[in-house]
């Protein structure tokens, strides 16, 4: 019998179908060469033609012809991911992927060999509470609105443990130690590791951040993610713009510790990653395809092996003891001059973590990553179903701090979902007004600064395979050379400048310019009664 088996799929069963126009195709082969998952291949087809004869003298017959064209593969390993690179390279616009109109069948078969689907990207859910939040307090005649273009704004936030004013005065009087505090821009480039990202992408982001700081005076900071930091950057003056992340795999920290005596500058901060929003309760996952010589050297591991970080730090026994010790040890490594803070996945237990962190005077902040956070690689089920939305979580955390009077002592940084539908400034402003001191952003920058084709519609999402068609998350020089670091840097600068202008356009009509409106929830409204109740903001219809 034929090849019909349970996982035999037709093109119609796949999430993406490749449409090809024979009349326009020049058979140049660029599409088959560029396809990152080899979903299409050159096909040789036989076609039967039955000529219609006008007279009765000749007997009817048929002829067989051969033509060349594009075949779409239908096995799960080669299913089209919809990245659209085929249409990107096609000189004649002869080919393009089209989304299947009904729920695809691939999802029932993307577990061949008993291995659940893993992917990179995002949750593939366009719903966003942040997008629904409106800024309803507009300064009108009782209090003129400000001119966003010409007024002076101070859009800065603080990263670091801030002592209560009474203790600041005592400390000043006694010339005592005060925790380090950084004055930074409220939008932070969130942790995306060297390894998850290609060298060109990483370099582009770093260059862009350096430009924003040194040429434009915007104190933008970037987190390294869990993958260490290139040795030259560790020893450069640009390290002060970098937040070094340590996570459960401790990748790259041997190199960092050895570079300590040679560091010209302190890093901006140390972020201890206990969790991330995309795969809460799960560790990092760098697949072996991406662990080349360079990555292996920076991370201090052998090349060509998968690097799954444990879900938790192996030394973590309790938050009161081990976490406190880790924060203190890292503080000590830099002579208590560098803020050290934990980053956790948003969870219903966030306030319990926060209350413990609040009692640890060395804890500089708390970063909370919501379920909409992106990742280079994770199990599909983790991405889609695990985690807590950021809006309610950061709100709970802030209100908890207000309750104990420490809203100024522990800055909260929110991530996961800001800009997921393109509304970065509005989402960030909403998070700040719900109580965040700053916002971490990753996916939006991948799209805006590097042209990531991923979307909330399960498009592409192959960051984990190292075959990123734009060269953003690939370690293959043939792929990442498509991405020019200078272009990434330029686009990053564009993003921050436009974000800054939009943030001012939000704050100016509300009459805010002197300080960041952290916790200014009286200005927020939402058209959902229950969401309004939950977030303790105004219900507006």
């Amino acid at each position: 019998m034929g090849t019909l088996h349970p996982s035999a799929l037709s093109p119609r069963d796949l999430p993406w179908r490749v449409c090809w126009d024979r009349d326009r195709c020049t058979l140049c082969g660029q599409c088959t060469a560029v396809c990152p998952v080899r979903a299409i291949e050159l096909g040789v087809h036989r076609r039967r033609e039955v000529p219609v004869l006008m007279g009765l003298g000749e007997r009817p017959g048929n002829v067989y012809r051969v033509y060349y064209g594009i075949d779409q593969k239908t096995d799960p390993a080669h299913a089209c991911v919809g990245c659209g690179m085929c249409s990107f390279v096609c000189p004649n616009s002869a080919i393009f992927p089209v989304r299947s109109e009904e729920t695809d069948k691939l999802k029932f078969h993307a577990n061949q060999g008993g291995e659940p689907r893993r992917r990179g990207g995002r949750r593939n859910d366009t719903a966003s509470v942040l997008d629904r939040i409106k800024f309803v307090r507009i300064s009108m005649l009782t209090d003129p609105a400000l001119d966003a273009g010409r007024h002076e704004f101070e859009l800065r936030t603080l990263l670091g443990r801030i002592l209560p004013p009474e203790e600041i005065l005592n400390s000043a009087k006694e010339d005592g130690w005060a925790p380090p505090v950084r004055e930074i821009y409220p939008l932070i480039v969130g942790g995306m590791s060297f390894g998850a990202l290609s060298p060109n992408m990483w370099e582009g982001l770093q260059m862009g951040v350096a430009y924003l700081n040194e040429e434009l005076g915007m104190p933008v900071r970037i987190s390294t993610g869990e993958g260490g930091c290139p040795p030259r950057l560790l020893r450069s003056r640009f390290l002060k713009y970098v937040i070094l992340q340590i996570a459960s795999g401790y990748f790259g920290w041997d190199e960092i510790i050895h570079a300590l005596p040679e560091m010209k500058e302190d890093p901006c901060a140390i972020e201890i990653k206990y969790g991330q929003g995309a795969k809460p309760g799960d560790g990092g996952l760098l697949m072996w395809h991406k662990v080349n010589g360079l990555i292996a050297a920076i991370r201090g591991v052998p090349p060509g092996v998968s690097l799954p970080s444990p879900p938790t730090h192996q030394t973590k026994y309790s938050i009161e003891e081990s976490v406190a010790k880790m924060i203190q040890s890292l503080s000590m490594a830099w002579g208590f001059r560098v803020p050290v803070y934990p980053k956790i996945s948003a969870t219903s237990t966030t306030t319990a973590v926060l209350n413990n962190i609040a009692r640890n005077r060395y804890a500089a902040a708390l970063a909370i990553d919501g379920e909409d956070g992106g990742t280079g690689a994770a199990y599909n089920v983790s991405m889609n179903h695990m985690g807590h939305p950021i809006a309610a979580n950061v709100r709970d955390a802030y209100l908890n701090l207000v309750k104990i009077g420490k809203q100024n002592e522990i800055p909260l940084f929110a991530g996961g979902g800001a800009g997921k539908n393109g509304n970065l400034a509005a989402n960030a402003a909403a998070l700040i007004m719900l109580g965040a001191s700053g916002v971490q952003v990753g996916k939006y920058l991948m799209q805006a600064a590097a042209g990531c084709v991923g979307s909330e519609g399960d498009r592409c999402n192959i960051c984990n395979l190292g075959r990123c068609p734009k060269g953003i998350t690939s370690q293959d020089p043939r792929l990442y050379r498509r991405l020019d670091p200078e272009d990434v840097a330029g686009r990053l600068v564009d993003v921050f400048l436009s974000f800054d202008a939009e943030l001012k356009k939000i704050l100016a009509p509300m009459g805010r310019s002197t300080s960041l409106p952290i916790g200014m929830s009286d200005a927020l409204g939402i058209d959902d009664f229950h969401a309004a109740e939950r977030l303790q903001i105004r219900y507006v219809v």
Partner: protein
């Protein structure tokens, strides 16, 4: 927009001086309310300088409740200057039974208590009375403090002054603050009417404080029972002043640095940058976001004026040795003190603080750029 007027004089003045100045500035307020704060009292109340004075608006039932409450605490009435209006109130002004100004005598048990403890008890009594009164509207209490009178009412300032007979000789003070209200709430509540008062500190403001919400939350989470109320966004100015002086032990110049800190890059050029930066960080939730002009009075009877950094609200200080006035409009100052010494006149800008202390010899000007030698 509200109009503000404050005057400090060696000779006790009738509150009419301030109310007439408000009338001169009437173009800027719609007469929807008036608030008066008087301290360094003259007239009949001068002799009771150390005794606490209760100011508020009471119904007959409220007076009975007050008497019962005070008797239980052992606080006895020493002197009364209460106003019981006989006439019909002006249009728009509600009919009230008593505008209470009553001097109390401390109970014996309070003897030997520290100043701080007495201050705490007076504040608790005021808060208790306010809470009791809020249940049935029988009592509205504005202040309970020595050498302090407050009167607040809805309506046109001059019409109310006439109605209450505020030009009486017995009612005089050397420091008077008055606000002509441009009401922005439909439901007029007297607790939203400036000036606001807490343990010797009083301020009044015009403009709108857009950072009100987070500031209120921060003050309310300090664990101090006096940081409450907040029917108006401007009440936080008084409480920040109180926090600066009483909780942090800092002066009026620190108040300016707290509510309108220098920008990060400006701080790098300040001689006290390290300290001021830490102060700014620590008091981040007390930074105001105006536009506001704040006129206030300290427990030592110093009057002062500051602005937020946007300087969209004007203000002027002027006068002559012995008498100075602070006004939100120049015409108010002209009306109250037509003859002034030119070199005493000053319009503070965004970095400035202007103040006149109880000696009333000069307008002291201070800029945020000056070293803050007495801050720490």
């Amino acid at each position: 927009m509200c109009r503000l007027f404050a005057i400090t004089s060696n000779e006790p003045l009738s509150p009419m001086v301030a109310l007439r100045a408000l009338d001169v500035m009437k173009e800027g307020h719609d007469g929807s309310g008036v608030g008066l704060f008087m301290t360094d009292l003259g007239g009949d109340l001068e002799q009771f300088r150390g005794s606490p004075i209760l100011s508020g608006v009471f119904s007959q039932e409220g007076i009975k409740r007050l008497d019962r409450y005070m008797m239980e605490l052992g606080l006895l009435t020493k002197f009364k200057l209460s106003i019981r209006p006989a006439k019909e109130p002006p249009e728009g002004t509600p009919k009230r039974d008593v505008y209470l100004i009553r001097v109390y005598e401390y109970p014996f048990e309070w003897e030997g208590l520290s100043e701080a403890e007495i201050a705490a008890r007076l504040m608790r009594i005021r808060i208790d009375l306010r809470r009791l009164g809020e249940q049935d509207g029988s009592m509205m209490v504005f202040s309970f403090w020595p050498d302090t009178i407050m009167i607040k009412e809805v309506g046109d300032p001059l019409a109310i002054a006439e109605y209450l007979g505020l030009d009486r000789k017995s009612l005089k003070a050397r420091v008077i603050m008055a606000q002509g209200r441009q009401n922005t709430n439909y439901a007029v509540t007297l607790y939203a009417c400036h000036p606001f008062f807490l343990q010797g500190f009083a301020t009044m403001t015009n403009g709108e404080n857009t950072a009100f919400g987070p500031i209120r939350d921060y003050l309310m989470s300090r664990g101090f029972p006096g940081y409450a109320g907040y029917q108006s966004d401007s009440e936080v100015f008084t409480h920040i002043l109180h926090y600066t002086a009483n909780r942090l032990g800092l002066g009026i110049d620190a108040y300016k640095h707290i509510i309108t800190p220098l920008k990060d890059e400006e701080l790098t050029r300040h001689p006290d940058s390290a300290f001021l930066r830490r102060l700014k960080h620590g008091c981040r939730f007390l930074t105001i976001d105006g536009p506001n002009c704040v006129i206030g009075c300290l427990p030592d009877k110093t009057l002062f004026m500051v602005h937020d950094s946007k300087k969209l609200r004007p203000g002027v200080v002027g006068g002559r040795p012995g008498m100075f006035a602070f006004s939100s409009e120049m015409c108010g100052l002209d009306g109250a003190i037509p003859v002034r010494e030119g070199n005493c006149e000053f319009q503070p800008m965004k970095y400035d603080l202007a103040c006149v202390d109880a000696s009333r010899m000069e307008v002291r000007r201070w800029s945020q750029w000056e070293p803050c030698t007495h801050l720490h």
